[in-house]
Assembly symmetry: C2
Homo-oligomer: 287 residues x 2
């Protein structure tokens, strides 16, 4: 077996052409490198260089050996990267969700059950969530449609209903309830990380009416400072009070009522059993 350092030195010599240049790059001296190359030749039992008394050049066999050396070094490097990547992935539970609210609910539940692991979260649409669940990029996903797939285990999680918040002076403020169609023509404030709700808004409202903010800070700032309508939900309202002087109106459309499901690969069900149970219990307690 040829040690890696010899292969590194060989490749350095091949790329630099002379022992001196290669030795500089390797932070060793010319004689050391000279000896190494002799040693390499001895171990392989072949000569890799044409030695012209004051110049060494790779011969055909040498070039052939360099190709192997490069492949081995590359694989070695790939191992270093690959193993620590693998280890990191093994120590993190990746969760994908179609909306921020259920994700925010589920994350602490997961963290509690897997204390020694990192929890990484991400928003994406259902289709992407499922493909990435299947290719192991996610271990758990939160969907808003129950998938029809035997390879997945799926459990009903919680529900969320959308509301619109308008100032008392707003034309719609007197309504007991509205639909998306009623909102057409009015500007609405939106955050950008609201998951699948964004798809619904794009579908049901006009693009030019959507005032999308890139940060939640900017959104909250504008909510306070302006009289523009914005969305909220029953779930959000449970958590925080709305600014005073605003009217909260439920949205009647079917689209505005989301049902969330937690899913994992069927074969991973046991591993995340504790999470599924804790999620069910949490919903139950909150009722």
């Amino acid at each position: 077996m040829i040690e890696i350092y010899l292969l590194e030195q060989l490749v350095a010599v091949a790329t630099h052409g002379t022992l001196l240049k290669a030795a500089e790059e390797l932070y060793i001296t010319q004689p050391a490198l000279s000896r190494s190359m002799k040693k390499l030749e001895a171990q392989l039992g072949v000569s890799l260089f044409d030695r012209d008394n004051s110049k060494i050049t790779l011969n055909k066999t040498g070039e052939y050996a360099v190709e192997y050396a490069k492949r081995i070094l590359e694989l070695n490097h790939e191992m270093c990267e690959g193993v620590s990547d693998f280890d990191r992935r093994r120590r993190t539970v990746s969760v994908g969700a179609c909306a921020p609210f259920p994700l925010g609910e589920l994350t602490p539940i997961i963290q509690e059950r897997f204390v020694e692991m990192a929890v990484s979260t991400e928003l994406a649409d259902d289709e992407r969530l499922i493909t990435r669940l299947k290719n192991r990029a996610y271990q758990l996903v939160i969907l808003h449609k129950r998938p029809d797939d035997d390879n997945l285990y799926c459990q009903h999680y919680l529900e969320e209903k959308l509301y619109i918040v308008v100032p008392e002076t707003h034309p719609l403020s007197a309504r007991d309830s509205i639909t998306f169609d009623d909102l057409r023509g009015y500007n609405v404030l939106l955050g950008n990380s609201i998951g699948f709700w964004m798809d619904i808004c794009r579908l049901r409202l006009k693009t030019e009416n959507l005032l999308i903010q890139n940060s939640m800070d900017a959104l909250f700032e504008l909510i306070e400072a302006s009289t523009l309508p914005f969305f909220t939900s029953d779930r959000i309202m449970e958590r925080q009070n709305q600014p005073s002087g605003r009217i909260v109106i439920p949205i009647d459309d079917q689209d505005a009522h989301a049902v969330y499901y937690i899913a994992c690969l069927a074969k991973d069900r046991n591993k995340y059993d504790a999470v599924f149970n804790a999620a069910r219990d949490a919903v139950f307690r909150s009722m």
Copy 2:
């Protein structure tokens, strides 16, 4: 970069299950191996084992690393074999021929021009010779048909005519010349390494009449000891005398007259120019 010896040790631990067993196989001690595995983990920046105070077992990351280690070791091993193989091939001229006589003539010519190289020779049929010439298994081939292929360079070499040798008492001994058909029904002695001549004999004579000897020694023995007919050629007769009391009869068929060609890959023509010229000269001198 991870040195090879660490990977070898890792794989040994993986296959033997305990440090002790692995250490025995590696001809090192338990403590040395223990330290090595710690070093490996430090270099990769991950833990590869579950350490249970009196037992170490590979964890998932460890198993993943072992897969890489095996691949690297295999590639390393392949390099050792591959490089010396390559070198050996580079130092030998492989010659394939359809018949022994021209091969015996050409071999010393090649050896003279490539003194520092080994010459390896082999008999095969024309089709095989050409495919193996193209895939570099042969550098030079001797054919008995001129190939129609631009990728090959081909030169007329020499010719050989087949004769049959019979005892004076043989029914055919009075003939001035014969054909293969005349030989049908008579047993004939044959060596087994006669190249394409064997194909001709099988085609033109009956299988049950061919008394094929596996060694030339056995053949010569039988030629001396029996009165069975056997083949010779003008070329062979130039070299050695026939046993006394035998009649040599030429064979008239077109098949019995072989024309040999030397060929190499067109792009290698320059490399073997000296051989082609020397071969031509040798034929010229012998006329």
